[in-house]
Each structure stands twice: as C-alpha cells, then as structure tokens.
Amino acid sequence: MINIYYQLVHSLKCIFKDTKPLISKILTFSLVILVLGSAFSDMFDTNIEPVKVGILNEDKGALSTGIIQVLEPLGTLDPEAEATQAEEDEENTEDENATADVSIGEWMKVYNVESEEDGRALACDDEVADENRISAMIHFPEGFTDKVTENADKSDGEATPITIKTGRSTQVDTTVVKCVFDTFTNSLNADFAVQEHFDGKSLPQDLDIENGYTQMETDAEATPDAMSYYAIAMLMMVLLYGAEYGCNSIADDYLGVIGERIKTTPIKRYQQYIGKMLGMVIATTLQGIFIVLLTGLVYGAKWGSNYLALLAIIFSMSAASVTLGACLCMITRNGARGQAMVSLIVIACTFLAGGFVKMDMGALKYISPNYYAQTAMFNSIYNGDTGIALQNIGILWLFVIGASAIAILMSRRKRA
C-alpha cells in the first residue's frame, strides 16, 4: 500500500513540477471557454421562430377577453399532445394571422391554456414535445376586468397586474415576451388614457395595467447559457487530455528506459501501475476542479449545488481519460504514436459530444466518453437527476475497466 502511495505522490510531483505545459493548458482552455462562451452566446439564445406563449384566462371579463382577441390565439395546447399539434394549429390559422396582427404574430404565437398546471407543464416538463413547449404563460387572474375598472374610478388607483410567468426558456425568448407584452400593455394603457381624455374625465395617475413577471416554479433550473455550456464542454476536453498523462506514463514507465530500470527494482508492477494511474487521475481531477472554480467564479458559469456529484463525474472522467491514454500507448507500443492518437481522439470525442458546436451527432456520440460525462453533468446541474448522472458515471467506469483490460492484454501479448 505504501508503495502505491509513493508512486501516486511521485506521479503528482512529476506533473505539477512541470509547470509550463500545465499553466499553458489551463490558460488556453480558460480562454477558449471565454471565447466560445462569448462568441456563441447569441446562437444559444436566439430563436428565429416566433416565441410560443400560453394564455390562461381565469377572468372571463370583457377586458381580458378583448385583449386575448387582439392577441389572436391559435388554439389550445395540451401538454400530453403529440408534437405536431402546434404545427397543425399554426397551419390552420396561417391565413387569418396574415391579415390579423402581423406584427405580434411575427414575434409571438399565442395559445390558450386550460389551467395553471397545464401551463406549467407546457413550459417546464421534459415530456412535452419541443414543438408544443411554451416559453411563457400570460395569466389573467380571476376578477382582472373588475379590478381594472375599480381602479379606474379611484384617483389613487393602483396598476392592475397581468401575471406573465416565464418557463425554461432562453433569455431571448423571455426578452421577446417581455418586449412584446410591455409594448402591448403600454399601448393599451395609452388607449385608456386617450379614451378617458376624450370622455372628459380627469386622468388618474396610476390607472393602468402592468406586467408582473415571475419565473415558474419548477424542479429544473434553466437550460445552460453559452458560457455554462462551454465551461462544461471544455472541462470535458481538459479532462480528456488526461489521456496524455496515461500515454506518457506508459511510454516512460513501461516501454521506455525508466520502465526497464524500474523492472530491476523490487517494486511490484501492479503497485507501480495503480499508484501512477491514481496520481494522474488525481492530477487531472485537480485541473478539472480548477476549471470549475475559475469558470464559476470569474465567468459565472453554472455548476449547480451538488458538489459531490460534480466531483464524482470529474474523477470518473479523469479515470476514463488516463486509462484511455494508457490503452492507446499499449496498443501502438510507441509513446509518440500514442500521443498523436490521443490528440486526434480528444478533438474527435469533444466534437462528437457537441463540445465545439452544440449539435446532436446521433449514435456517434455514444462512442465519446465526453458524452457520458457531459450527460451526467447536465443532468446533475440542470435537472437535479442524480439517477441519470449515476448511470453515466457507471458507464464511464465500465469504460475504465475495458480500457485497463485491453492495456493489460496488450502488455501480456508483448511479454509472450
């Protein structure tokens, strides 16, 4: 055991004493996260499609009904409906929209919602098809019309709120809803004021409708913004570069002159292997933690609150990377060749997992260990789903076992 510990310490010492490549690597990735996070923030937020908004009318009064008529709802959305429901509704009312309210229709598609629960489900539930998902719900509470009328008769009347609840929408979606609806209610208030003026009544200072924005209560947080997404994606890439340590270590300590020299000492090979591998996994994990702290504190990337899960994912991914490097070196039986393969694989795996550009690579993504670590991380941070996180951590450890087994088999083949 003590021999394993000393190998571990030695491994850490070798990595952290060689400061130049370490600093260069961390700085490079910190900059890459900053550049990608800033450059692609629009891509993450922009939705060229009109924003879907639900309307829940519990008032049924003249005012709310009038407002809703202006907004031209396309139909009623059901959270359990098929993905095509909204599309069909849109097609059926396409012509009407074209002549009715072109300006609002360009930005917002409005649908009726049966209840607050339905609205919340349409905005937040995972099961809802993307085509049916709404970004916000406009809620006319019971007695809305009466309250506006009552307030209009008072000299110190308060503004009557329309509640607009935003869901798991992107910042752009939310901004669109706010802009459109603020503009809309402002015009409405202006109309009231003009009417009051021509009716000869004095203009009460606070007679108006205001929009009360709230975030819907949901188990999940918002989807990641660009900075948070790339912080995770690049963290995976940094961790996958741990494969370089695994490859170098095998090249030096097994295939190289130091390896031959170590064979003349009494230390057992398994002690050396376990100690060195653990050291490199810990070194890679520490680099990952540094990236998490840096991006969390400086760039404001979201890392959730389950730090134990976060650490477990980083450690598991580090283990997968280091053993992958060791395995590649053992297969190629050449440090330089192994290193070249590692460089290619790191880029390829990051790409397949959507690390550079957020896209779904289909079944190909499953060959990338980054995908499993990323999935575990996104589920842990944004969905609070530790079950899926654990499942993906398990897959990473299966990967570790597989890569180690191949490395051991290849080493035995050489001896034979």
Binding site: I2, N3, Y6, H10, K13, C14, K17, D18, V257, I258, E260, R261, I262, K263, T264, T265, P266, I267
Partner: protein
C-alpha cells in the same frame, strides 16, 4: 565466493539465439568487465542477470540465490546503471534519488541519509535542488549512478555509464567506481572504451555471437590470445616489390602497405620483431620510423572477434 554463477545459460527469441550456453562466474568484490561488439548479447545477458528477461534454458544464481525463484530479494541487493539516462528530468536530483531509494524500500531518516550519501558520493550534493534537465552530460551520468547506488547494492551492473561524457567527468566516474568497489561492491562493467576496462577491471569476459569466447585477467587474455608481435615501419622510397619481399620473410604472418607505412605481424616463435628489424637494416633498407606495439585488450579483442571494440 562467486556472486554470479550461470550454467549453460541460453536466451532465444524465436529462431535467434541471443545468448548461447554461457557459463560465467563473477567473484565477489571484483570489477568484472564485459566486452563485445554490438549485438554480441551483452545486454541480453545482463537482462537475465538482473531479472528483467526470462531465461530460456540454463540457470542463473545471483548472490547465492536462484533468479527464477528469489527475484525480489535479489533485486533488493543489486543496482543497475543503464546506458540511457533513467531518471525524471523535470525533478531535482534530490527528488530523483529519493524516488529510486523508495523503490528499494528505504524510508524516513534512513532514506534521507542514503540519498545524501549517494549524492555526496557522486559530487552532486551541492546541486541537489537543481532540476536535473539543466545538468551537464557528465552530471546527468553521475545522477544516473547516484540513483543506482542509493540503496548500497552488493552487486552493481553498469552498462556503458560513461557514454558521451567529457574526459574529466569520465575520470570522476571511474574514480567513483573504484571507491565503490573498495567499499565492497562487486561491479559488472560494460564499455566500448578499452582504456576504461583496462583501468578498472580485475577480470574481463569477451562475448561474440552470444557466446563467451574468452574470460580472465587482462594479462592472461593477452598472453593466451595474442601469439604475434605487432609493428609499424615507415620506409623511405617504399616500393611494391619491397613490401612483397618482406611479406615472404619466414615468421611474418601479415604485412599491409599503406603508402610508405607497413603494418607487420610477426610470429615470435619463428622470428622476433627485433630480428626482423635487424634483417631490414642489414639489407640497407632506409627505415624512417619504427613503432613496436605492445599487445593490449584492444589487440585481444581484435584477434578474437576480428573487429575493433568501437565498431
């Protein structure tokens, strides 16, 4: 007492026999030189002696123990200085020697004392905190040795430990080896530098084509192996006819002409070099310079293998 004993030792790689039925005895306390041209099987033999290569046939006993059974305990008492540098260049000299000391089971104050002793012995104590990648070639060689002797081995294998170092560092390394040997360490030394082997080795074994073709002290090898005398003679107005005439003199076994210089081998049982020179003078041959060579290890090696040691 023999510290190494091999019997009919064979190492085969498929069809190729790298070491072929070697019987070798190395005595405790001696410096044993192992010589041979490239590909002779020296490294393979050493690999089997230090336990990194499996023996195909035969037996090896090191420090009185069978290498196939007691590999671990044998490794505890042997040191190995490989031809290539086997340390971590990004670490300091101190950290490197600490690492190797721990591999041999040294711990705590015992380890620290041993590291200091090894670094002082190799003259690196003052530079112990420096990163070893900044060392000169000679210092790196000395650090290579410090890493191998930190655990005070009874038997030390040194595989060309002076390759690529300046003469001053080489002398320092050779002096260290003498000191180590004086302190009781048996040394197995391989080198391509004949003068090093002559300077420090008590006995020498010569390998070629996987076989041990000669073994003994340098004097024994010279006496037993070299049966001829060697001379180079520079003659004014040298002609082809004259060279041919000298070649036909009884006792001259070899005569090679290079412009005005003749390289001559003489069998002393028929004619000594002196008698040959007297004969040439009596024939009024215009001799400009004479160099009579004393047979040495290089001559032995050349005679036995047909190659120069550095070929």
């Amino acid at each position: 007492m023999n510290i190494i004993e091999t019997s009919k030792l064979v190492k085969r790689y498929k069809q190729h026999t790298a070491v072929d039925k070697i019987d070798l005895d190395v005595r405790e306390g001696e410096v044993f030189g192992l010589l041979g041209p490239n590909g002779a099987g020296k490294s393979t033999l050493i690999g089997m002696l230090v336990g990194t290569l499996k023996v195909t046939e035969g037996s090896v006993r090191v420090l009185g123990k069978d290498i196939s059974r007691d590999s671990s305990s044998i490794k505890q008492d042997i040191g190995y200085v490989p031809q290539d540098l086997a340390f971590f260049e990004k670490l300091s000299a101190y950290d490197n020697v600490i690492y190797w000391g721990r591999l041999y089971g040294l711990r705590g104050p015992e380890l620290k004392a041993a590291v200091q002793e090894a670094l002082e012995f190799t003259g690196l104590w003052e530079r112990r905190k420096d990163t070893s990648e900044n060392f000169s070639g000679g210092m790196k060689r000395r650090l290579n040795i410090a890493c191998a002797i930190v655990h005070k081995p009874k038997l030390l294998f040194m595989d060309e430990p002076t390759v690529g170092v300046d003469p001053q560092s080489r002398n320092s390394i050779l002096e260290s080896i003498r000191k180590l040997n004086h302190n009781g360490t048996t040394v197995i030394y391989t080198s391509h530098y004949m003068e090093e082997v002559e300077a420090i080795c008590d006995r020498v074994g010569i390998m070629d084509f996987g076989k041990l073709i000669a073994i003994g002290t340098i004097d024994q090898l010279v006496t037993e192996t070299v049966k001829e005398e060697f001379a180079t003679i520079e003659i004014n107005n040298m002609s082809l006819q004259l060279a041919e005439a000298i070649k036909r003199i009884p006792g001259v076994t070899y005569c090679d002409r290079n412009q005005n210089v003749l390289t001559i081998h003489v069998n002393p049982e028929i004619m000594s070099t002196i008698q040959l020179l007297e004969m040439l003078i009596s024939k009024r041959i215009d001799i400009k310079a004479i160099n009579v060579e004393k047979p040495n290890l290089e001559t032995v090696f050349l005679t036995l293998t047909g190659k120069k040691l550095r070929d």
